[in-house]
Symmetry: D3
């Protein structure tokens, strides 16, 4: 049930017996020489939708721009100030809460969003306290790549070569979902992990092609399918628990 | 050329000879008893992409949540505070400007966004002036339904029955693009236009099913196709002019 | 009834049977080589006061600085960031709403303010929704130069020579209201309209003396009086309707 | 030289040999049973203009709404949040600084504005430091009623009966400047000063007619003239020093 | 009773019969060649704690960074934007008000904070009014160096040599409280007061060692003790009155 | 080297050969029936200072109020909105960067701050990019309780009984540092961990005395000393690496 595809009477009907919604959030940022800039947003959105289909839960429109300041030395990357994303999430949730939604489950596709997501949840709670709103909402999120089974698969398929950015696992899922985006040219080994990054310039100097220790070219759509299905399965279970909580 | 589908080297290559980008902006709001909540965002995005294909211009990710406070009495509607949307557009453009983009052409699908789009452009100019940024950017927008040929078609197809919200023209284009979203049930005549609306409650009291004077059920996908093609054609011409400007 | 001239008991008495207020909003920006920088604010204020006198409606203090980023290459122009003007209008209305005012009718003297005015109205509605304020307010605005009869007069008096900025019609009304501000030196023909402006620098390069296609020197105080009276008359009718709405 | 009355070439000419401007700031708030709500704004504006005439200095448009939260239990009072007024002053000064103004002299009519004025000056300095703007500006303000000679006159004319709000001195100056606003009805003695006020409700409970220890009805226009002339004279001297500083 | 040292049940017990709290606020800024950068924060905190001990009143954690833009040309100085400090004080008080505190008494150690403290109090009141919070709070502050007996002592001990920044009185109290911070090297006479300062650069140019007309080296810990005790005694009396108010 | 205790010439001298600073950040929040409300701030500050002593590195004043929304149902807890803390950290770092500091190492005492710290670092980077500041800064943080040796000790001393809030380890370190704050009364076993918390009310309902699965009363000052020394030792090593980086 994708909110954007429904009519308002359908949403009204949904709210008569449910109050949960799944919200995908990704990023629009470089993913190495062969990865799509929209990787994180695509994955969050597609996984969220599939989970929504399997759980009969509502799925909201994707937040496709996240916190990607570190990637800003690579053309095409978009990044919000954290305060902007906090405002955006606040308004998104406030709109839904106005209609009666009470459980908000974010499917996140980008590690850089985690801090701001958490900060946004605190901001919303502070704001509600200070403005004496009388309803109570529950917010949580999951990173699709941290789902238990997915972690195991990533280790099994790629081991150390999974790396930290433009990973073969995320590239693989995109290949499964979007065969038009498969780049099959071979890539040289990536630069190994160099420790904490300090800003966008430092990132590009350390990792000139955008990959961090990740053998993106190990990706294939078959593994992508298994990763996708495993992520969906794991999240379905959690969503079902969260929405009755 | 959809930014999200590209790799960063592809964007870097693009920027060596072009500096324009098309940005679709829509809304997530009720569109009457048969219209999809995501109508405005879908149309902006699909038209923008088609224009991008025909002009070889870059297309950025859609801003799918807009200013829809008036529709907030209908479940499913999402609305941003104008200050939030201003911050969002500011960061979006600042990211792209950092990479070298200079011409920003918004394809807008929702009348309620116009004021905040214009305000955002002023805010960006003020901010650049106050922070002494040294580059100059150009921003503009078009409402797809105001393209010359489209206006003529809307009048020809629906006359007065086009109405003002959940119009048969926008429903028709969705039907053309998304046959899975066609609702063919007949609808009673809509409430005629009642003058300026004062807030969400007033809207729903005056127009209980969400349509304003619009005979949504006159829509059909064939007319949708003509409307879509006409909008695209008109915008292609404008984009080509704007990007050389 | 000008709020600033009244005592608080007089306002308290007014609120016992009325809840409407007229608020003039203008701009402080260049108006060509002979136009006063305060033109837009003066006109909005004087028209609003006259309307207030004729309708026995309260008139608030003028907001004399607006959104004039485009004019910032001409010395003397003042411009607010749209977010600042939104905050200002929000506080202005919140103060009045606290006392019991419910109908807010803005008389606007500057096209550049329109977008931010609309955005401010949405912002106020969002804020009220998010903070669960329990009263309902109605906001609207009119541009004095768009009043029906005024449009006709502008066309009749100046035709194409009315132009787009520093127009003879606005200069004429200032001449009628402030004979001390009449500049009678002849002016060369203005630069014709060159299409959309991109920022302050572009404005001054295209229109070096600040006029856009406007034959400011056609203005005379006699026509100014007719324009003024016609604007007032048109607005009186609208205010009367709005305040009972 | 009132900025709003000038043309932009006149401002440009002024800036070729001067860089100072006088900015009046007042408040729109109750002034007891006989005082005009706009008292503070009128006085600041009229004094500033007279000073401008005598010093050939530029005078900007009045900021007529200030910080008057304490007065909000009296209908007609308008009050800004301090953060709004800070933003407004920041934009006002940034606009003028863009044109080349460097010395900003505020004539203040309301004690409640002092804190926010000072905060605004700090905010502007912080902002300039953080954004690496390369010019240096000087800001100061005076409260007209604190001018040396004015203090002496207030003591001489009214002694203890001057009080603290809706004082006979401010009422007197309004009477001198605006004979149409003279209320000559006698008033009972005011409530004496009761110590620090805690919010708007507390104010009205302690001082039901809005006056604080002030015998407003002692005011007369003759004393108003002397007060006005003395304030102007004192400020002229200070402005002349400040603008060469 | 220092809040940070207590357990939450102890605070809960306190709130059953009291609702007042003392909040120290200082600054982290240069205090001349021999004064500690933390002087203002230390003094505010130590005085507040001693007052808390004597009055059995709760004392909150110190706000040690204030508004010190003028001192920013001296390394080690920290300064907040006034809008940041307003937000900080707002959240601090809102947290305490949520628990039931209603009387907030700030002990201030830095003149530069006064304006923003007052602005923060207004901001809080505006915010409460606009969000319809139903409780009423009382806020006030004292500058420890303005306590009646302290003013007399400063005059008696140092006369004109007290000066305006890095004064012997504040240095003396630090010497009394922190003998490890005594610098006994002799200092040349300070630069005399030069009139209003315009920004950080101007400050350092006028007063190269950071002192303004202050003979810091006159300080001794014995006088520091008398000053401290006198400040505490004066504030104890005021706190007792304020908390029953 | 504690910044607050130094004179400005001492800071100037420091900056001639170093550019690093350690900044402690904690929280003021309930720590169960026997833990001090200031636990997190004390620990961060004391550890940071000890590290500063051993590394000859500058230590800034503690940020003692953090993000503690979850604890707001327990009296005495203070919590900032994340946007407030972001502004505060931004100004703190901007002040230091103005003087020449370039490496900022936060010692964090509270898990709830992590997200906002990270968000603040992104915000600062975005802001610098958008305002074209020309220097580059490096920010990082460590949670003292996550230092390698500390994690081992916590497991060794308390095993599962360490729990998640008001843990014996943090209580123990306070006991070591502040013997006056030792509460030796026995406590009943804590409520075991119940899964993710949804807001302040939920927290107190699930964990009525504020402890989450933590046997606070296992704490003793001897273990506190070992924990403290181990944390300091681990952080010293990291600071030395970071500051040369």
């Amino acid at each position: 049930m994708f909110l954007s595809d429904l009519t308002w009477p359908a949403v009204e009907a949904y709210l008569q017996h449910k109050d949960g919604i799944i919200i995908p959030i990704g990023s629009t940022e470089q993913h190495g020489p062969t990865g799509a800039i929209g990787t994180d947003a695509m994955l969050a959105e597609m996984i969220a939708r599939q989970v929504g289909d399997l759980t009969q839960a509502m799925v909201g429109p994707v937040l496709s721009i996240g916190i990607a300041e570190h990637h800003m030395a690579f053309p095409g990357t978009l990044s919000l100030r954290p305060t902007t994303l906090i405002a955006l999430i606040t308004d998104y949730i406030a709109s839904l809460a106005h209609h009666g939604f009470r459980h908000f489950y974010f499917v996140n596709g980008h590690g850089g969003n985690i801090a701001t997501l958490r900060a946004a949840f605190s901001e919303i709670q502070s704001k509600q306290r200070q403005s004496a709103v009388d309803y109570h909402i529950c917010c949580t999120f999951i990173n699709w790549y941290d789902v238990e089974g997915v972690v195991a698969l990533r280790r099994k398929y790629y081991g150390e070569r999974e790396g930290r950015h433009a990973t073969p696992s995320e590239i693989a899922v995109v290949q499964y979902l979007r065969s038009d985006l498969i780049h099959s040219e071979p890539l040289p080994p990536p630069v190994p992990y160099q420790g904490e990054i300090q800003g966008a310039k430092d990132f590009r100097e350390k990792y000139p092609d955008g990959r961090i220790a990740a053998y993106s070219s190990m990706a294939n759509p078959e593994q992508g399918k298994v990763l996708f299905d495993t992520a969906v399965k794991g999240i379905v279970k959690q969503v079902n628990q969260f929405f009755v909580g």
